[in-house]
């Protein structure tokens, strides 16, 4: 059997939300900086109107030269994802037209059903492994803390709700006590979060998704690995069915006009 090396141990966290502005290493450079920020904008991690750090701060955060950061910002500007304002309150801002729901809808419509289902199988395989281990290993008090945090979230604030739900899944994954599975869950959560945010826009579906997440947490708190995995499968069935129905509804969507000057993503 061949073992692939785990994520780098070079002190570079890959956590979903914080992963965006981490040092990027030498091989990265402008294109990687550009892609990292573009993905964060299209995924809704960086919201319209949000101000990016100054060029020098950005360069320091990514661990690249200021000229590299400048090149990445220029490319993002040409794609219409950011705008630059001059003056005292100037700087680079996420473009108002950068709507993550629109990007996610486009990505969903453009992907085939087989690709979507395959991605969901991968997500389910990793999450099920995490949930099963967590059910065996977690102290009920640790799950109660995750539930208590979810209870405090105002679910009318969609961005806050999405972030809290993603965090809850990652915290649950970490209770597997497996660093590898947790890192993989974080990567997959980053990939899926924009699609899950589509579900959040439908109030009924959002309530259903929330009930599914709670059912998984409850089964893990009960220390029942079988019930936990069953609850997770039910949750994934709901998610995939909803996304495929949404995809069919929007299949006739005309191609997106470019978000701004340039050729678009």
């Amino acid at each position: 059997m061949s073992l692939r090396s785990p994520a780098p141990r070079s002190g570079k966290p890959t956590r979903l939300h914080s992963a965006v502005f981490q040092p990027i290493g030498d091989e990265g450079r402008a294109a990687l900086v550009e892609r990292r920020i573009a993905e964060a904008i299209m995924g809704g991690v960086l919201a319209a109107g949000e101000r990016l750090p100054a060029e020098t701060e950005l360069a320091a955060a990514f661990g690249v030269a200021p000229a590299t950061a400048r090149e990445a910002l220029l490319a993002l500007r040409e794609r219409g994802l950011i705008v630059t304002r001059r003056g005292r309150n100037g700087g680079s801002f996420i473009a108002d037209s950068a709507d993550p729901v629109r990007f996610a809808t486009r990505a969903l419509v453009d992907s085939s059903r087989v690709t979507l289902r395959d991605a969901a199988q991968h997500y389910q395989a990793i999450t099920a492994a995490c949930v099963e281990l967590a059910a065996r290993r977690a102290d009920p008090g640790e799950i109660e803390m995750i539930i208590a945090r979810l209870d405090r979230v105002d679910d009318h604030d969609l961005a806050h709700w999405r972030r809290a739900s993603d965090d809850a899944v990652i915290e649950l994954a970490a209770l597997s006590q497996s660093a590898r599975l947790t890192r993989e869950q974080m990567r997959l959560q980053g990939e899926f979060s924009p699609l899950l945010a589509l579900i959040d826009t439908d109030p009924t579906a959002r309530a259903d998704a929330r009930a599914h997440l709670r059912a998984v947490l409850a089964a893990v708190a009960d220390g029942d690995p079988t019930a936990s995995v069953q609850a997770l499968r039910a949750s994934m069935r709901f998610t995939v069915d909803w996304l495929i129905a949404y995809r069919e509804q929007h299949a006739a969507l005309p191609a997106l006009a470019p978000v701004g000057p340039g050729t678009g993503p």
Binding site: R9, P13, F21, P23, E50, Q177
Partner: protein
């Protein structure tokens, strides 16, 4: 099962596994206890001049944080100071933290981008020193904020005039602790495990007991339990 008090600690060759474990993690607790006293004075002095900012705090913490890597006979993976929430002039939360083989400073997006609140108030390495006012050995846990690895964090609260201003801390990776401690524990010849406050196995001389599993309830009947003084760790020796 019976709970025995720990035999008196000794700095020389340990007579009992619980002494070995208590001495091992005690090195981290002692170093942090020393540092938190010094840092409290430095923070109080700095605050007397002007409100404390993240940059000024980083400058105060960095020399001692980096020194800790070499000063201790422990595989220190990360070291630094976690500021009390809402205690700094320019950010809601801040980790002045150095880690990894390159001892690079940790930069979290939420700190560098929009100064957004990172809520670490419920994480064990912050919550327990804050609530109890005492040093704490936290974990093992998957640290998805800093190391991204299976980690133990030893943390000690820092107080300025009875005000909690944050915690000094260091990370040890279980991978390295296992390499260090398992052979030394195995030398005692018994089936020995170290477990934390919720019964989670940190490491064991028995390959049958997995790190990360929990030993609790009826399973405990097969062990004699020895508490490590001053930390929420127990040594379990199979009967």
């Amino acid at each position: 099962m019976s709970i025995h008090p720990a035999p008196p600690a000794s700095r020389t060759a340990a007579d009992h596994p619980v002494e070995l474990v208590t001495e091992y993690f005690g090195r981290a607790l002692d170093a942090l206890d020393d540092w938190r006293g010094r840092l409290a004075v430095e923070i109080a002095t700095a605050r007397a001049d002007a409100p404390l900012t993240t940059d000024r705090l980083d400058a105060l913490v960095e020399p001692s944080a980096l020194a800790l890597f070499d000063q201790l006979d422990l595989p220190v993976y990360g070291s630094g100071f976690i500021a009390a929430l809402d205690s700094l002039a320019d950010a809601n939360s801040h980790l002045a933290w150095w880690q990894g083989p390159e001892r690079a400073q940790l930069v979290l997006a939420a700190q560098s981008v929009n100064k957004e609140h990172i809520d670490y108030s419920e994480l064990e390495w912050y919550r327990v020193p804050f609530q109890t006012g005492r040093p704490h050995v936290a974990g093992p846990y998957v640290d998805y904020l800093c190391s991204d690895e299976y980690t133990i964090t030893v943390a000690a609260p820092v107080h300025v005039d009875d005000e909690f201003v944050g915690a000094v801390a260091l990370d040890l990776l279980i991978d390295q602790v296992e390499r260090h401690l398992t052979p030394q524990l195995a030398a005692f010849g018994d089936d020995i495990s170290i477990v934390n406050g919720v019964g989670r196995v940190l490491l064991s001389t028995s390959p049958a007991r997995e790190t990360g599993d929990t030993i609790r309830g009826d399973d405990l009947a097969g062990f004699e339990r020895f508490a490590c003084a001053g930390m929420a760790l127990d040594v379990l020796i199979a009967r």
